[in-house]
């Protein structure tokens, strides 16, 4: 379905009515799964992810044959992060079942695992432990990799795993397709499926609100000159996402204080009571 980009130039509004630097509506929740060690639910627009964390627990060698991708933290001296993604067959508009050995999924798993390994302080658990992160995609509408990373970040906070900062990700695109020689194309933030199919875009994951790039994936043809603009836009989006995630975590903390789960001013370690 070709996207009519001509209207964008007139009103500077995108298909869903957003401005170029606007994020979609986000919704986040911590601790949605009482039996898990950590869990989070994240919505970015119509992309909906539920993340369940089990562990850190002792590495189960019999399970190493499963399709999860792993990455060791702190140069192999810390816990291993194992990520497995499950995309529900009903997540897309047309029902589609994916095999677990889908290479695209495996690539995403690897990217998330090694991206999180960069921020998780795994040395407190020792090299023989594993943090299992399982991501369930319930609904998919663009920026999938970015949402997966954000959801996993949020769930890790809920699980109480020490991290240097949130790992946050966002997508950025460029208004016209690569064929147009126009180098002045406007960047766009946080693309949905429709825009992703039509425009060149990249996914950028940064460490919190800094400009430090942890992961970056671009799968479409785009002029080199546009890269910088897209990256800058995505980095701005990452800051917005970080503020949002931080807000979710703070709200949850506030709620716990109100409910009396923890006392105000108590040491942080008692957060484990949750």
């Amino acid at each position: 379905m070709p996207l009519d980009t001509s209207t964008y130039n007139l009103a500077l509004l995108r298909v869903d009515g957003r401005r170029w630097n606007e994020l979609r509506q986000q919704k986040g929740q911590l601790g949605v799964q009482p039996s898990a060690d950590g869990s989070a639910y994240l919505e970015m627009g119509n992309t909906k992810i539920q993340c369940i964390i089990s562990g850190p627990n002792e590495r189960d060698l019999s399970k190493s044959t499963s399709s999860a991708s792993t990455a060791p933290t702190s140069n192999g001296a810390g816990a291993t992060v194992a990520v497995s993604i499950m995309i529900a067959p009903f997540a897309t508009v047309d029902r589609k079942r994916r095999g677990r050995n889908d290479k695209r999924l495996q690539e995403m798993q690897t990217t998330i695992a090694s991206g999180l390994a960069a921020t998780v302080q795994g040395q407190s658990y020792g090299p023989r432990s594993t943090i299992h992160i399982s991501l369930n995609v319930l609904s998919q509408d663009g920026s999938l990799l970015a949402c997966l990373i954000n959801a996993a970040s949020l769930a890790l906070v809920d699980a109480g795993v020490p991290m240097t900062d949130y790992l946050v990700a966002c997508t950025a695109g460029s208004t016209s397709s690569y064929a147009a020689a126009d180098e002045e194309a406007d960047p766009l933030l946080d693309l949905n499926t429709q825009e992703e199919q039509e425009l060149p875009f990249l996914t950028l994951a940064t460490l919190g609100a800094t400009d430090k790039v942890v992961a970056m994936v671009c799968e479409s043809r785009v002029q080199l000159t546009r890269l910088e603009g897209m990256m800058a836009t995505a980095a701005d989006g990452c800051k917005g996402v970080r503020d949002f995630l931080d807000g979710v975590v703070r709200d949850k903390g506030e709620l716990m204080v109100q409910e009396g789960a923890i006392g105000r001013g108590e040491v942080v370690s008692s957060m484990d009571l949750d």
Binding site: E107, T110, G115, K212, V217, V222, E228, M231
Partner: protein, 301 residues
Amino acid sequence: MPREAEPSQNEKDFILKAVREGHRLDGRALDEFRQLDLKFGDQYGVADVTLGKTRIIAKVTAEVTVPYTDRPFDGIFTITTELSPMASPAFEVNRPTETEVLLSRLLEKTVRRSNALDTESLCLVAGQKCWSIRVDLHVLSHDGNLIDASCLAVVAALRHFRKPDTSMEGDTLTVYTPAEREPVPLSWLHSPFCITFSFFGSISVGEDGEEKDIWLLDTTLLEEQLRVSSCTISMNKHGEICQVAKPGGAPVEAVTVVQCSSLALQKVKDLSDFVDQKLAEDSKHRNKGGLLAELSAENAR
């Protein structure tokens, strides 16, 4: 599951310290490639790439098949990678390692998704007959930088390849043997190349203690085991990015990535010229008789 032998602590410290001071074990500059060699086989479509001790062979084959029902006007183009135990004891047969999955995904994105090969030109009879082009990639020896070398081998092999000429008369499709008609090259749109940057943390430079990321090009296997993260940028010589992948790992400054991408363009232009030159040499070598040169419709590229 067999694993690559890990370098000893002494080795690690030595190499990392050397890299911080701007030296590499084999005396290269940080952004210098190893000795690159490209040979073509007697057959069309066989490319043998040697990059230092890394050696890769790519072979292209074509056959006539039925196109996919959802894409009746497109031919079929597949790239298969095989990392056998011959290349490194860490690889097992029939069990794709993470390296292999990432490599095949990168080639897929770089060559196939960027439309380097015009798949529509592979269509013979819409919905019924099309060419199926298959690239088989074999890693004979693994000493680091598989991605860049593999991509070069695939591109070179595909550009070298000639498929049998065909003609349509009414409803009959004729495929000519090389003796009847000179085979024709594939409809090639652009040549993307991968450049992989390996990061080794950062050092502070200058008086204000500004942090600067250290990166290497064309790492050996030993260096690859020690790097903290990597970033692969695929581009063609026209400055079009086909793919960028930094799959996690330690963070680097966004500025560094932008700097890397402009340096990648420089390197891609070098590689592009290198492949052009080798292809020209090969075709000169083949057309010694002069007779074939007249028959060939190939333009000097």
